[in-house]
Structure formats: C-alpha cells, structure tokens
Symmetry: C2
C-alpha cells in the first residue's frame, strides 16, 4: 500500500497487522530467580524432586502409628509410651515402634513407623512417661505426604507462564534458582519533528520540549518491554531513515512519533515504504484521537508511525503497541484467556453529553468522581495535543464505533491508567 | 501485650496497628525523569513555564487575521494575499498584515498579527499568489493559545502523586528532567526455621528449601518497596534478635517469617517484646490461613511475625503489609480515594460448597474457569503449607467473617494476583 488510504476500523487494523506479521519466538536467557519476577518462562519447568521429600507433620502434636489410637476417647483414652521428640530440621532419629509416640512440631519429619499425628489438644503427657490420647487419628491424618505439593517429574509451570511472587517461591522450593526466561522485547522510539528539543533544553520561539519519548518509554516499560531511545530528529528523510534502519536491525518493534501535519505523515510513510516490503499496511484508523496512525512491516518487524499528539500516542499505544508487546514477549496470560483484561476497567456514568461520529471509536480522557455512591466520568476537555489533559485523567472512556455518542447519565467502560 | 492473646478480626488488627504506629514522612531523593516512573512525588510541582509558550496551529492550513474571513462562503470566498509559510520549529519570521495569509503546518507558531487558522480543506492557493477562503474562522479557531496546556505558576502535580507515563511526559514538557520523589520504603525479610536451607542447597532429611523469602521479596517489590533479605536463621533467640535489631535500624518495616509451631511463635513474640515498647500489639487474627500472625511495633517501626506457611505469608502480606507499604511510600492513589481497589477484582460463582467458621475471614486460593459465559471459582484445595496451591491459583476468593460459608453457585469476589 502506498500513500494515504482509507481509514480502517480498529479491529480491521489489528487483523491486517496480524496477517502481515508473525511474532517470532523470543530469544532466551537465564536469570536468577529474584530477577525472574514478572518474566515469561522460556521452557516448561519439570520438578526434579518431590516436595516435600519426606512426610511432615502439619500440626504440633505427637507422631503415632494410627492403629494404636483406634477407639480412643475421653472416657477410654489410649496410652502410648513417649519415646522422645522430633527436632525441627533433623532426620527423625528413631524408628517408632508399636505402642510408642514421639512429640513433633509443625513441619517436623515423621519417624519411620509413624503414619499420623495426634494434635497437641487431644493428648496429654503424663508424669509416668506415658501419653494419654483422647481421640483416634486416621492413617495419614495431620501429615503432609511426600509429593503432596509436587511430585518428581511433574510439570511445575509451562512455557510462557508469567512468573508471579508465589511462582518464584515455588521454583525455589524445588531447587530452581536460575530460570530460563524469554528476553524482553526491545521497542525503539524515534522522535521526529523539527520543532522538538530535548526536555532539558530551553526551547526558542517555535520550538517545544520533547514529551513523547518520555510518555512512550514509560508505557513500553510498564508493558514489560525495554524502550530503546534513538533520539530526536528533524523532519528530514536521511537521518530518520538511518535511525529507522538501525532500529529495525536492533529492536523487535519500532515506534516513530512525529507531527500530525500532512508533510510529516507523508515522510514517515515514505520512509517505511522505502525500507522494504510490505512497508505501510495501514494508513489511517477510524479512531479519535490517533486517526493518522501508520502501521507498517519491514524485515518482518512492525513499524509504527504515531501521530505527534501526546494523547494520540497514548491511545495508539493502548490499541496497537500494548497487544503487540504482549504477543512478542512470549507471555501467556491465563486471565486474558478467560476474557479478563490486563488493564483495570470500571463502569461509570458519563457526566456530560458527548457526541461522536458513527463508525469512529473515540477514546476520551476522563476524571472520575464519586457522587452518592456512583462513579461519574467527567471528560477532560482540551484542544488536541495537550499533554495535561491526560495527566488530569484517571483513564479513558471508550465510545464504541457503533455509538453516535453517549448521553449524560449513560454508562461507559473506563480503562484505568496504570 | 505479652504472650498469645485472643485472635482479633482483620479490621480490628489493622486499627490496632494504625493507633500504635504513625508512618513518618519518607525521605526524599532526586531521580532522572525516566527513573521516576511509578514513584511518588516528594513535593508539589509548579510549572515555571507556560505550555505552549507561543500560539500554535492545531491544523494544517493558513494563519490569518480572523476578521479578514468574516462572511466568506463557497459562493463569495474571501481572497487574501499569500505571504509565505511558517517552517516548523522556527519563529514566525513575519508580521502578518491585514489582508495576508501564511501557510502553517500543525504545531507551527502563529505569526504576530494572526489570530486564527483556516483549515487546508477550506482554502485554495491560486496561481495569482492569492488564497481563496471558503469559510470564515472565529478568533482563536484552530489555535492552541499560550498556557492552554498549563500556565506558568500553575500546579502541575501535587505531593504524593504517583507518576504515570503521561505524567513523566508532562513534566518533560515543562522542562523538569529530574523529579523529587519519596525514597522507596525498605522492608527487611528475616527467614527463620531450623529446617530451612537456601534454595540452591540440597536439603538433608528433615530439611526443606527456602520458599518464603522469594515469595515475600517478590510481593514487596511489586508493592513498590525494596526487599532487604537478612538471611535464614535457625530457631535460636540470639541470631534472630540480632538480625531483627539490625533490620529495625536499617529498614522501614520488618517481616519475620517462621514456622507455625507454638515454640516458633513464642520465640518471635518474645524477641519482638524484648526489643522495645509497645512490642507485640496483635497476636492472632481471625483469618484462615494466617491465624498465628503477630504484629508488633518497635522503635516506631512495624514488625510482623508471619506464619511459615507460604499461603499464610501471601494472605498476611495482602491484608497487612501491602496497605502498610502503600502508606509508608507517601503515595496518594486518587483511585483508592474513589473506592477503586489497587488490585483487580472479579466476581465469580463458587464451583463447590465451601464452609467457613462464622467470625473468621477465609482467603481461598481459586482457579478460574469460564463456562457458558460465566466465571467459576474452583478452590485449589491442598493441605496447609503447600506453595503449589498458590501457584495453581489465579487469585483468592474472600469469604467474609459474617458468612458461615459459600454454597456452590453463589457469587464471591476474587482478588486477582498481580
């Protein structure tokens, strides 16, 4: 596709991208378990050991041979000979004989011969060296058996699983202290615009400070990828193309952010098309803000031309880059498979009428307020391109393409910002 | 309070902690803007500059003096003299005279004398050097005025605000490239238990590998704090007390994780009481799992004695440590003020009957499945102390203290894991 085409719907843009691009399996690396938090496993994890490896008491009490307690009651207790005690962290030193009991703490190792634990509350040590037992225990009662947590040879986690704190703990429990994980995707950020100066410079008249590389880098990072900042470039073909070529060879995806002027968009589209096939695959999406967005594929890698407006950058990131990063991360999110979104979503009532255009999906920054127990979404209005409209918002209300607008009091779904 | 007391409710435990402990204002540090993502501002940010600093066009078109277009229509267009063009990133070189127009790109600086922009679509440049205008524009139309985004002297963000990607971008836009942020709280983790060996060691009979310091460190990190691992200690007074004293002087909060045996709990309580007043303030909470939890305050810092069971550790973290970390971080979460929880919560139907004990709050690891469009919560059952019950769960269903249980098919709220 060359030049600017017809704006397509958001869903169509995503399916054009899917059909023109296949995410390769990410590279792998080994990281220490603490560093593996939040990362995706690059291989199935098979436990080489049973957990626990030995029978453990789940109560403070007395290890016994259960049959010795059968029929015990408060009226007719059973009497066993107290034959010592189990020390935490040590192998049970004795073989328990019939008619014997040993004191055992929660987590202690059952001695050979014992098959159950009588809780402290139902037993009493007598001066005679005997133990009086008021209740019977069944075989296995109050005992965690070897392999109850996981068996040797069992799959602990499958490839793609995103490691949560308890998963790190579980891996430690089976002795895996280095985890094979997928490399985090790298997303290049190329900031274009002759008017843009670095944020630490004082702009001259006509110039403005760089906003987008900060916003975008933060979003990339929160999505679990590594932002690679390629710098700020004037609206000139040569240096931008050079930066884009280097970004494509070095990174997994490229985002050019630039002005929303026609000249600017044409320059971005030309550079993407000139770099290789298929080049630009989407030019213009029926979304507000973000309509001029360009999606391309070069050397099998996705390249985005984002409009320069900060709000459009944020909306395009949510719609296109976040799902892409999730895909190229190799992560499998079990909750997303259940239809539970990765972002927090709340329902709120619109505090004002808002009119949209049928066929266009609108994303509207909203501030939330609670009034008489109900959440209300107040559109944060402002001219296009203002970054503080986003800074004042709690999230974005999405007005679907099939709605001409939302009347005051109607319910909308609000995607909350991270 | 000395020794073990009566178990109190979760809410009561939290209010005892609140009344015995006041979080001091955290320390401050300056970090570069990229590193400030997710951090809490340690001071109000006042903009020293207007954004934009000059009037900018929000459209591709022609800068004009609006009165020159009044009355223009397709039938009777207005004709202005084309007097050049505005180059992006440069000061407007000319003073626009009455009867003149200059071409201007989106984002370009309006020349002095111009007060509006005619969109490209409603104007046509003629060979005569004139511009034909088919629609009038009002003063200010298609122009972003100086200070429209933010004015000089205006408060951009207030102290405690947690910086999101767009906030980082907005700060860059007003030239703030280093941000004053609160220091992240440090949470010491002291792992006790004579049976525990480091995860990279092979346990001997009776020993198990360290799980809790990994799980807890991950949870602390996800909550925005810095875990400080003090190591693994046998159940002996001296070394644990020494580690706890050093942790209290060095960190903002201390978590001891240990066994659930009576001896173990008594040791933790004694150490907390011996270190200073008020010592133990809560010993036992009506929650399952997690009942033996100890909460103390020493030298004005909170000290937790968590049961050794991995599931209890996770539940106690959610109930007590996460809100505490949030408080001592100095972060103000505007969504929490609106009653929107910081964790994702979904509603699901219980897939089995589950009976609880009235007066006790139960937290039950559940795996979610979707069936005929509805989410069902399947309790991940297992003996206490198994880490893989948590690894197999998507979140925890909370059975409130005033419910005797939940019948199959009834709705429960499920807090999803991070």
């Amino acid at each position: 596709m060359l030049g600017r085409g017809e704006a397509v719907g958001v869903g169509e843009a995503l399916s054009i991208l899917r059909s023109s691009y296949t995410a390769p399996e990410p590279g792998r690396e080994e990281v220490s378990l603490h560093e593996a938090l939040g990362r995706a496993l690059a291989a199935d994890i098979i436990s080489q050991t049973a957990l626990p490896e030995f029978p453990r008491s789940s109560m403070d009490g007395y290890a016994v041979f259960s049959a010795d307690t059968f029929g015990a009651s408060e009226q007719i207790p059973a009497y066993l000979k107290l034959a010592g005690e189990i020390v935490m962290g040590e192998a049970a030193p004795v073989l328990l004989l019939r008619g014997q009991a040993v004191a055992i703490p929660t987590g202690g190792m059952l001695p050979e011969g014992a098959d159950a634990v009588v809780m402290l509350e139902y037993a009493q040590a007598l001066d005679t060296g005997e133990l009086e037992i008021m209740r019977p225990v069944a075989p296995g009662e109050n005992v965690v058996q070897p392999g109850d947590d996981i068996k040797a040879g069992e799959t602990a986690f499958t490839k793609g699983h995103r490691l949560r704190p308890q998963d790190i703990g579980a891996m430690a429990g089976i002795g895996i202290t280095y985890a094979p994980v997928f490399k985090r995707p790298k997303v290049a950020i190329i900031n274009t615009g002759s008017e843009i100066v670095p944020a630490d410079k004082t702009p001259r008249p006509g110039q403005v400070r760089d906003v987008n590389s900060y916003t975008l880098a933060g979003m990339v990072r929160l999505a679990g990828a590594i932002p690679v900042l390629k710098g700020i470039f004037r609206d000139e073909y040569g240096p931008i193309r050079e930066a884009a070529e280097s970004a494509i060879s070095e990174c997994d995806a490229v985002a050019l952010t630039g002005g929303s002027s026609v000249g600017n968009q044409d320059l971005t589209a030309k550079i993407i098309n000139d770099m290789g096939k298929p080049g630009v695959i989407v030019h213009g999406v029926s979304v507000k803000p973000g309509k001029p967005v360009i999606i391309g594929v070069v050397s099998g890698k996705p390249v985005f031309g984002l409009p320069g407006h900060p709000v459009a950058v944020a909306v395009c990131f949510e719609l296109f880059l976040r799902p892409l990063i999730s895909e190229i991360s190799g992560k499998i999110d079990p909750l997303e498979a259940l239809g539970i979104p990765g972002v927090r979503v709340v329902e709120a009532r619109m505090a004002r009428n808002y009119s949209s255009v049928p066929g266009r999906e609108d994303h509207l920054g909203v501030a939330l307020r609670k009034d008489e127990g109900e959440l209300w979404a107040y559109p944060v209005l402002g001219k296009s391109g203002l970054i503080f409209t986003l800074a004042k918002a709690h999230g974005t209300a999405v007005i679907p393409a099939d709605r001409p607008g939302i009347a005051k009091g109607e319910k909308v779904m609000v995607r909350l910002f991270d």
